[in-house]
Symmetry: C2
Subunit: 116 residues, 2 copies
Protein backbone atom coordinates (compact mmCIF):
# COMPACT_ATOMS: atom_id res chain seq x y z
CA UNK A 1 0.00 0.00 0.00
CA UNK A 2 1.24 3.46 -0.88
CA UNK A 3 0.37 6.54 1.17
CA UNK A 4 1.58 9.73 -0.43
CA UNK A 5 2.67 12.68 1.67
CA UNK A 6 -0.56 14.42 0.65
CA UNK A 7 -2.69 11.47 1.83
CA UNK A 8 -1.25 11.71 5.32
CA UNK A 9 -3.07 13.95 7.79
CA UNK A 10 -1.37 15.61 10.73
CA UNK A 11 -2.86 16.37 14.12
CA UNK A 12 -1.75 19.05 16.52
CA UNK A 13 -1.19 18.43 20.20
CA UNK A 14 -0.32 20.89 22.91
CA UNK A 15 1.78 19.58 25.80
CA UNK A 16 2.79 16.09 24.66
CA UNK A 17 3.83 13.93 27.62
CA UNK A 18 3.44 17.07 29.72
CA UNK A 19 5.93 18.91 27.56
CA UNK A 20 5.55 22.52 26.40
CA UNK A 21 4.07 23.96 23.23
CA UNK A 22 2.74 22.72 19.93
CA UNK A 23 3.72 19.45 18.24
CA UNK A 24 2.35 18.25 14.91
CA UNK A 25 2.01 14.47 14.62
CA UNK A 26 1.61 12.64 11.31
CA UNK A 27 0.78 8.98 11.85
CA UNK A 28 2.52 7.09 9.03
CA UNK A 29 0.92 3.83 10.15
CA UNK A 30 -2.37 3.29 11.96
CA UNK A 31 -2.61 1.11 15.05
CA UNK A 32 -4.37 -1.44 12.85
CA UNK A 33 -1.41 -1.49 10.45
CA UNK A 34 0.95 -1.90 13.41
CA UNK A 35 -0.97 -5.09 14.27
CA UNK A 36 -0.45 -4.82 18.03
CA UNK A 37 3.32 -4.86 17.51
CA UNK A 38 3.73 -1.16 18.19
CA UNK A 39 2.02 1.96 19.53
CA UNK A 40 3.38 4.65 17.22
CA UNK A 41 5.01 5.03 13.83
CA UNK A 42 4.89 8.71 13.12
CA UNK A 43 6.59 11.88 12.05
CA UNK A 44 6.69 14.60 14.69
CA UNK A 45 7.31 18.31 14.17
CA UNK A 46 8.14 20.32 17.25
CA UNK A 47 7.65 24.05 16.93
CA UNK A 48 10.47 26.27 18.21
CA UNK A 49 10.86 25.77 21.99
CA UNK A 50 8.30 22.94 22.05
CA UNK A 51 9.13 19.77 23.95
CA UNK A 52 8.09 16.19 24.54
CA UNK A 53 8.07 15.89 28.31
CA UNK A 54 10.29 13.49 30.26
CA UNK A 55 8.60 10.09 30.36
CA UNK A 56 9.48 6.47 31.10
CA UNK A 57 8.99 3.51 28.77
CA UNK A 58 7.62 0.26 30.18
CA UNK A 59 7.28 -2.93 28.12
CA UNK A 60 8.19 -1.17 24.87
CA UNK A 61 11.10 0.66 23.25
CA UNK A 62 11.11 3.90 21.31
CA UNK A 63 13.36 5.20 18.57
CA UNK A 64 13.66 8.87 17.65
CA UNK A 65 15.41 9.51 14.34
CA UNK A 66 16.15 13.20 13.83
CA UNK A 67 15.26 14.42 10.33
CA UNK A 68 15.81 18.18 10.65
CA UNK A 69 16.62 20.75 13.29
CA UNK A 70 18.38 20.81 16.64
CA UNK A 71 17.19 19.26 19.87
CA UNK A 72 18.17 18.75 23.47
CA UNK A 73 17.61 15.21 24.70
CA UNK A 74 17.50 14.20 28.31
CA UNK A 75 18.38 10.49 28.13
CA UNK A 76 17.86 9.10 31.61
CA UNK A 77 20.12 11.44 33.60
CA UNK A 78 22.37 12.76 30.81
CA UNK A 79 21.79 15.63 28.36
CA UNK A 80 22.79 15.60 24.70
CA UNK A 81 22.36 17.90 21.73
CA UNK A 82 21.01 16.04 18.70
CA UNK A 83 20.80 16.97 15.03
CA UNK A 84 19.88 15.47 11.66
CA UNK A 85 20.81 11.81 11.39
CA UNK A 86 21.11 11.15 15.12
CA UNK A 87 19.27 8.28 16.82
CA UNK A 88 17.83 8.18 20.33
CA UNK A 89 17.02 4.66 21.58
CA UNK A 90 15.02 4.29 24.78
CA UNK A 91 14.11 0.83 25.98
CA UNK A 92 11.92 -0.51 28.78
CA UNK A 93 12.80 1.02 32.13
CA UNK A 94 14.47 4.05 30.55
CA UNK A 95 13.25 7.65 30.28
CA UNK A 96 13.73 10.52 27.87
CA UNK A 97 12.57 13.98 26.85
CA UNK A 98 13.24 16.09 23.77
CA UNK A 99 13.18 19.88 23.38
CA UNK A 100 13.53 21.94 20.22
CA UNK A 101 16.44 24.28 20.92
CA UNK A 102 16.95 25.29 17.29
CA UNK A 103 15.77 28.23 15.24
CA UNK A 104 13.50 26.12 13.02
CA UNK A 105 11.10 23.24 13.46
CA UNK A 106 12.57 20.04 14.86
CA UNK A 107 11.44 17.10 12.73
CA UNK A 108 11.83 13.47 13.67
CA UNK A 109 10.50 10.01 13.18
CA UNK A 110 9.21 8.33 16.34
CA UNK A 111 8.57 4.58 16.51
CA UNK A 112 7.35 2.66 19.57
CA UNK A 113 7.58 -1.15 19.41
CA UNK A 114 5.97 -3.39 22.04
CA UNK A 115 8.14 -5.81 23.99
CA UNK A 116 5.25 -7.86 25.42
Amino acid sequence: MIKTKNDLKSITVNGLREGIGIINITHLLSLEELKNKGKLFGKLELEINSSIGFHKHIDDFEVYYILKGKGLVKDNKANYIVEEGDVIYTTSGESHSLTNIGENKLELLAVVINLE
Copy 2:
Protein backbone atom coordinates in the same frame (compact mmCIF):
# COMPACT_ATOMS: atom_id res chain seq x y z
CA MET B 1 21.20 5.78 24.35
CA ILE B 2 22.30 8.32 21.76
CA LYS B 3 23.97 7.36 18.51
CA THR B 4 25.18 10.34 16.56
CA LYS B 5 25.22 10.33 12.78
CA ASN B 6 29.02 10.02 12.97
CA ASP B 7 28.81 6.97 15.25
CA LEU B 8 26.73 5.09 12.68
CA LYS B 9 28.60 2.99 10.13
CA SER B 10 27.24 2.19 6.71
CA ILE B 11 27.79 -0.96 4.69
CA THR B 12 27.59 -1.30 0.94
CA VAL B 13 25.72 -4.08 -0.79
CA ASN B 14 25.47 -4.87 -4.47
CA GLY B 15 22.26 -6.49 -5.68
CA LEU B 16 19.97 -6.28 -2.63
CA ARG B 17 17.13 -8.80 -2.91
CA GLU B 18 18.44 -9.53 -6.39
CA GLY B 19 18.08 -5.90 -7.39
CA ILE B 20 20.60 -3.93 -9.41
CA GLY B 21 23.51 -1.76 -8.34
CA ILE B 22 24.91 -0.31 -5.15
CA ILE B 23 22.92 0.36 -1.98
CA ASN B 24 24.38 1.82 1.21
CA ILE B 25 22.77 0.54 4.42
CA THR B 26 23.13 2.25 7.78
CA HIS B 27 21.69 0.13 10.57
CA LEU B 28 20.18 2.57 13.09
CA LEU B 29 19.41 -0.29 15.48
CA SER B 30 21.20 -3.59 15.89
CA LEU B 31 19.32 -6.90 15.95
CA GLU B 32 20.05 -7.00 19.68
CA GLU B 33 18.39 -3.61 20.15
CA LEU B 34 15.41 -4.82 18.11
CA LYS B 35 15.02 -7.61 20.71
CA ASN B 36 13.61 -10.15 18.25
CA LYS B 37 10.74 -7.78 17.42
CA GLY B 38 12.14 -6.82 14.04
CA LYS B 39 14.73 -7.65 11.43
CA LEU B 40 15.76 -4.20 10.20
CA PHE B 41 15.67 -0.57 11.29
CA GLY B 42 17.91 1.20 8.84
CA LYS B 43 18.54 4.03 6.47
CA LEU B 44 19.09 2.99 2.86
CA GLU B 45 20.70 5.02 0.10
CA LEU B 46 20.16 3.76 -3.43
CA GLU B 47 22.60 5.06 -6.00
CA ILE B 48 21.13 6.31 -9.29
CA ASN B 49 19.42 3.40 -11.11
CA SER B 50 19.95 1.02 -8.16
CA SER B 51 17.06 -1.12 -7.01
CA ILE B 52 15.83 -3.38 -4.24
CA GLY B 53 14.55 -6.44 -6.10
CA PHE B 54 10.94 -7.61 -5.97
CA HIS B 55 10.47 -9.77 -2.87
CA LYS B 56 7.67 -11.15 -0.74
CA HIS B 57 7.20 -10.63 2.99
CA ILE B 58 6.17 -13.56 5.15
CA ASP B 59 5.40 -13.27 8.86
CA ASP B 60 6.57 -9.67 9.02
CA PHE B 61 5.70 -6.24 7.63
CA GLU B 62 7.97 -3.58 6.18
CA VAL B 63 7.69 0.18 6.01
CA TYR B 64 9.65 2.33 3.59
CA TYR B 65 9.58 6.05 4.38
CA ILE B 66 11.08 8.12 1.59
CA LEU B 67 13.48 10.79 2.84
CA LYS B 68 14.90 12.15 -0.44
CA GLY B 69 14.81 11.44 -4.13
CA LYS B 70 12.44 9.78 -6.54
CA GLY B 71 11.60 6.08 -6.77
CA LEU B 72 9.46 3.64 -8.68
CA VAL B 73 7.69 1.14 -6.44
CA LYS B 74 6.16 -2.07 -7.61
CA ASP B 75 3.57 -2.77 -4.90
CA ASN B 76 2.20 -6.25 -5.58
CA LYS B 77 1.03 -5.76 -9.18
CA ALA B 78 0.78 -1.96 -9.35
CA ASN B 79 3.48 0.64 -10.05
CA TYR B 80 3.77 3.99 -8.29
CA ILE B 81 6.21 6.88 -8.30
CA VAL B 82 7.22 7.88 -4.79
CA GLU B 83 8.98 10.94 -3.42
CA GLU B 84 9.96 12.56 -0.12
CA GLY B 85 7.37 11.97 2.60
CA ASP B 86 5.66 9.00 0.95
CA VAL B 87 5.11 5.72 2.81
CA ILE B 88 5.14 2.19 1.37
CA TYR B 89 3.57 -0.42 3.66
CA THR B 90 4.01 -4.10 2.78
CA THR B 91 2.57 -6.72 5.09
CA SER B 92 2.76 -10.51 5.24
CA GLY B 93 1.86 -12.11 1.93
CA GLU B 94 2.59 -8.96 -0.06
CA SER B 95 5.53 -8.13 -2.34
CA HIS B 96 7.38 -5.00 -3.38
CA SER B 97 10.41 -3.60 -5.15
CA LEU B 98 11.92 -0.13 -5.28
CA THR B 99 14.07 1.48 -8.00
CA ASN B 100 15.82 4.83 -7.94
CA ILE B 101 14.52 6.64 -11.03
CA GLY B 102 15.73 10.08 -9.96
CA GLU B 103 18.84 12.08 -10.75
CA ASN B 104 20.20 11.87 -7.21
CA LYS B 105 20.48 9.27 -4.48
CA LEU B 106 17.19 7.83 -3.22
CA GLU B 107 17.20 7.87 0.58
CA LEU B 108 14.70 6.07 2.75
CA LEU B 109 14.09 4.54 6.12
CA ALA B 110 13.30 0.83 6.06
CA VAL B 111 11.79 -0.96 9.07
CA VAL B 112 10.84 -4.63 9.24
CA ILE B 113 8.71 -5.74 12.21
CA ASN B 114 8.02 -9.39 12.98
CA LEU B 115 4.43 -10.63 13.13
CA GLU B 116 5.23 -13.95 14.82
